[in-house]
């Protein structure tokens, strides 16, 4: 069965510090990978998605970046965090379109507080 892991689960970072959130998927190959952000009391905002190694699409301009160094690894980064980067970050994966359904499977999330 497929599983998704992301870490760390919580972190408190000072403004201007770097960020690295990691996500790995097991039990599948060539997944579509996603990073979402969820601000308090709001819906999910798609930040990045990737259909393959080294292929990253950004949905919104910001000081975050994403990388996919391996097929089942997705990393969210920032060189200098802003207060507005605080939120709940969710990694997710889905099968390719031919696998049907486009159901997305989420990790447990990472709480980021920038102070």
């Amino acid at each position: 069965s497929q599983t998704i892991h992301q870490w760390p689960a919580t972190l408190v970072q000072p403004v201007g510090s770097p960020l690295s959130l990691e996500c790995t998927v097991e039990g599948t190959s060539n997944p579509n990978l996603y990073w979402y952000r969820q601000a308090a009391g709001r819906g999910l905002q798609l930040l990045f998605y990737s259909v393959g190694i080294g292929q990253i699409s950004s949905e919104v301009p910001q000081n975050l970046s994403a990388s996919r160094p391996q097929d089942r690894q997705f990393i969210l980064s920032s060189k200098k965090l802003l207060l507005s980067d605080s939120g709940f970050y969710l990694c997710a994966w889905s099968g390719g379109y031919r696998q049907g359904g486009n159901t997305i499977y989420f990790g447990e999330g990472s709480w980021l507080t920038v102070v």
């Binding site: 709001r42 999910l44 709940f88 997710a92 379109y97 359904g101 486009n102 990790g107």
Partner: protein
Amino acid sequence: SQQGEEDPQALSIQEGENATMNCSYKTSINNLQWYRQNSGRGLVHLILIRSNEREKHSGRLRVTLDTSKKSSSLLITASRAADTASYFCATVGGNNRLAFGKGNQVVVIP
């Protein structure tokens, strides 16, 4: 791009009652999905209904889809305290990507 919009935003019910949530969207879709999120956790997929389907059941869940009105409803029958969560609808359009609504908080009182 389309976005699901759930209505009402918050719902508080007694255990055993039914809970109904609605979702509307703006453009044509391939399918519509409902997800549940327990507080501070990731989202869990509940059910998917395709654009050519009108109703779908999964356990105590019943989803309807009216493409002419661009709306969907999620019914949870015989609610339990464990159903307390936020429920999101999400639509999949021609770009094959999900667009989520803002969520619908449901509190089931034991």
